[in-house]
């Protein structure tokens, strides 16, 4: 053992020939500024999205002869130009609410199925399939919705009208195919299922095993375990997952553009064909729009941008706050 310490260690070089500048610090600086620069660039992109959209939107709104928020019309090419987002805002919010009402409970159910009910061997492949489904492009959902789902839903619509027409919402006052906000809502629900499911599932898997085992030890049934330990722990996760899904639903373009037969009317009869959403309106009106018409569309896009920003920001804040106190990520 002693011999190892006796190895001839080459004498340290008497004086370092390198100057301080060549010890790699220059490389460090370049690399740091490159990576920090790209981070800053991202912030700049976000800021410039807001600035550019606001700038174009401001020029459009200043020439709008109607009220931008309350006008039930979209005619920027007219003389005088009149356009407003009331119908679009209504359609976007209503179709997203329908989507949320359907998708969130089902998604939580699927997440519970994968995390707590499915046979062990099935759970991993199922989670994988759900993730794959999130990758199906929205235009494919769109043509499927328009060519397959719409015919299927016609019977359901009549049936809803027959038995639930007294609720006013499900009263179908116009005949026509099921290209309604309700159908759009169902399609959006199917589209946001994968994302809501996968986020909730991850939260459910983080529930401390101790809590579940404690509940089991007290004689709880599986449902009681879920109600007592899993759902309370996962509540904020479910909320933020739903808001992420809501963000998707608000901004979805193609699925709405293919399914909905648009009209500039506000009607709470969600089974009637008609209505419109921000994204659908932009995609549909863009082709025929002149330069001013495009600015008007950009103005409506700005509202959509702000809306999704608020929803997504809120979702992320909820997730971030939860991370701090849950201790699940330790």
């Amino acid at each position: 053992m002693a011999s190892t310490t006796q190895l001839d260690i080459p004498p340290a070089p008497p004086a370092r020939p390198r100057r301080p500048g060549s010890t790699g610090r220059a490389g460090d600086k370049i690399f740091l500024s490159l990576s920090r620069g790209s981070g800053i660039l991202l912030l700049l992109i976000m800021a410039s999205i807001a600035v550019f959209l606001s700038y174009r939107a401001a020029t459009a709104i200043s020439k709008d002869e109607g009220n931008f928020f309350t006008t039930f019309d979209w005619n920027p090419a007219g003389d005088p130009p009149v356009f407003g987002i009331a119908v679009l805002l209504f359609g976007t919010v209503v179709s997203s609410i329908i989507a949320m009402v359907i998708a969130v409970p089902v998604a939580v159910g699927i997440a519970l199925f994968i995390s707590h009910y499915a046979p062990r061997k099935l759970a991993a492949p199922l989670a994988y399939v759900v993730d794959l489904l999130a990758a199906v492009p929205s235009i494919v959902y769109g043509i499927w919705g328009a060519l397959v789902l719409v015919p299927y839903l016609e019977g359901l619509n009549l049936w809803l009208d027959q038995f639930f027409g007294w609720t006013y919402i499900f009263e179908k006052t116009e005949v026509g195919v099921a290209r309604s906000l309700f159908t759009v809502g169902i399609l959006l629900a199917i589209m946001i299922l994968p994302i809501v499911t996968s986020v909730s599932r991850e939260v459910f898997l983080q529930v401390p095993k101790m809590n579940e085992e404690a509940a089991l030890a007290l004689g709880a049934t599986r449902w009681e375990v879920i109600r007592l330990s899993v759902l309370p722990f996962g509540r904020s996760g479910i909320i933020s997952a739903s808001m992420l899904g809501l963000g998707r639903a608000l901004g979805e373009t193609m699925a709405v553009a293919t399914v909905l037969s648009p009209s500039f009317l506000i009607s709470l009869h969600v089974l009637n064909p008609g209505g419109g959403t921000f994204a659908q309106n932009i995609a549909a009106k863009f082709g025929e729009a002149d330069a001013f018409g495009r600015d008007a569309l950009i103005a409506s896009g700005l509202v959509l941008f702000v809306l999704t920003l608020l929803v997504n920001g809120a979702a992320r804040l909820i997730i971030a706050r939860r991370k701090e106190y849950s201790g699940a990520n330790a």
Partner: protein, 362 residues
């Protein structure tokens, strides 16, 4: 002390035991095949009711079957077992129904795409454009759109992969304080930007700078959608690299940037590749920015920097809007091509992730 209490407990237990029947292990319970039986009965009943009432839509049949299944299993369990078991059974049934309710439309989507798409999909379809083809004619193909998609997605990847990678490196290796927090937050928020808004942003720049629509403009919009996805996934992967590796390298006197380039990134390269490929798969299906920025074309245009191009998702939308039987066939075939492209990317990416998973410290 403890002795006394245990005897107390023991004294009490026999009193409660003999009387109760329903709660012990020996209580009656439904057989294991009961849920299957309930399902069979409810499906049969639903079919019966629906045909009797003359309802055409199979959506209704499914809904009725699901509701009957829930009701039957709840009532049967309440009668045979007890209220708590019944609630448990109800919850299990609800969860199963949720799962099946979600599987049905998704399976229908995939099946329709494959069966309708394979009618028109062949070598001719993949190698011809729509030049001079009328919407109602059953010829034409998807070649020009394929080229457009590949070029636009390629450009977007070339821009956003390095940017996203560097940002992730900054967040994981250097990031502290306000700037890093802001970047993290806005990357998350950026993930949620609707694709049409990204398209409008590039459009507003185009209007100001007087640029013409081209594949490049579409690619720029796709870049905005792709960067946050790359940053998120790369960040997760870099966080998985064990700190011991970094410390070992730094202890050898290697500067930090070389440590990152030679130790951290190679360790995480599998996951990073996966993340980039998943991001590609995600943007390949984006239609909205293409509508606004690339304009669409029936002809083959291999130059992404000038002139209108097409892309697969745009092609699908275009063919759908024509509204002829032949164009629907083309739309489904293109949808099949697009789904196959996305799914293969996904599968390969996940394969790489599994194959090259970073070795954790354990």
């Amino acid at each position: 002390m403890s002795n006394a209490t245990t005897t107390d407990v023991r004294d009490q237990r026999p009193q409660t035991r003999p009387g109760t029947h329903g709660t012990g292990l020996s209580s009656r319970s439904l057989p294991r095949w009961a849920p299957l039986g309930f399902a069979a009965v409810s499906v049969a009943l639903a079919v019966g009711i629906s045909t009797a009432a003359g309802w055409q839509s199979r959506v209704q049949w499914g809904l009725i079957a699901a509701l009957l299944f829930l009701a039957i299993s709840y009532v049967a369990t309440t009668v045979v077992e007890n209220q708590r078991q019944a609630k448990d059974r109800l919850a299990t049934s609800v969860v199963w129904v949720c799962f099946l309710a979600a599987v049905v439309p998704l399976a229908s989507l995939l099946w329709t795409t494959v069966s309708r798409g394979s009618e028109r999909l062949d070598g001719y379809f993949l190698s011809h454009s729509m030049a001079g083809v009328l919407g109602s004619e059953a010829t034409g193909g998807v070649y020009h759109a394929l080229i457009g998609t590949l070029e636009q997605v390629g450009i977007a990847t070339v821009i956003s992969a390095p940017l996203g990678l560097l940002t992730a490196v900054y967040l994981v290796e250097y990031g502290k304080g306000g700037l890093a927090r802001a970047v993290t937050f806005f990357v998350d928020v950026m993930t949620g930007i609707p694709s049409i808004v990204a398209g409008l942003f590039i459009l507003s720049i185009m209007l100001i700078a007087g640029l013409e629509p081209s594949g490049l403009m579409g690619a720029l919009a796709l870049t905005i959608l792709m960067i946050p996805v790359v940053v998120r996934s790369t960040e997760e992967m870099l966080k998985l690299v064990p700190n011991e590796l970094r410390e070992a390298s730094l202890a050898l006197g290697i500067p930090k940037w070389r440590t990152i380039l030679k130790v951290v990134l190679p360790t995480a390269i599998g996951g990073i590749t996966t993340g980039v490929m998943l991001a590609i798969a995600r943007i390949a299906g984006e239609t909205a920015p293409i509508i606004l920025l690339v304009f669409g074309s029936q002809l083959i245009n291999t130059n992404p920097f000038e002139g209108a191009q097409s892309s697969l998702p745009f092609y699908i939308y275009e063919q759908y809007k024509i509204g002829e039987a032949a164009s629907y066939d083309r739309a489904w075939a293109a949808a099949l091509v697009l789904i196959a492209f996305v799914m293969i990317l996904n599968l390969v990416a996940r394969g790489i992730a599994r194959w090259k998973a970073p070795k954790t410290g354990r």
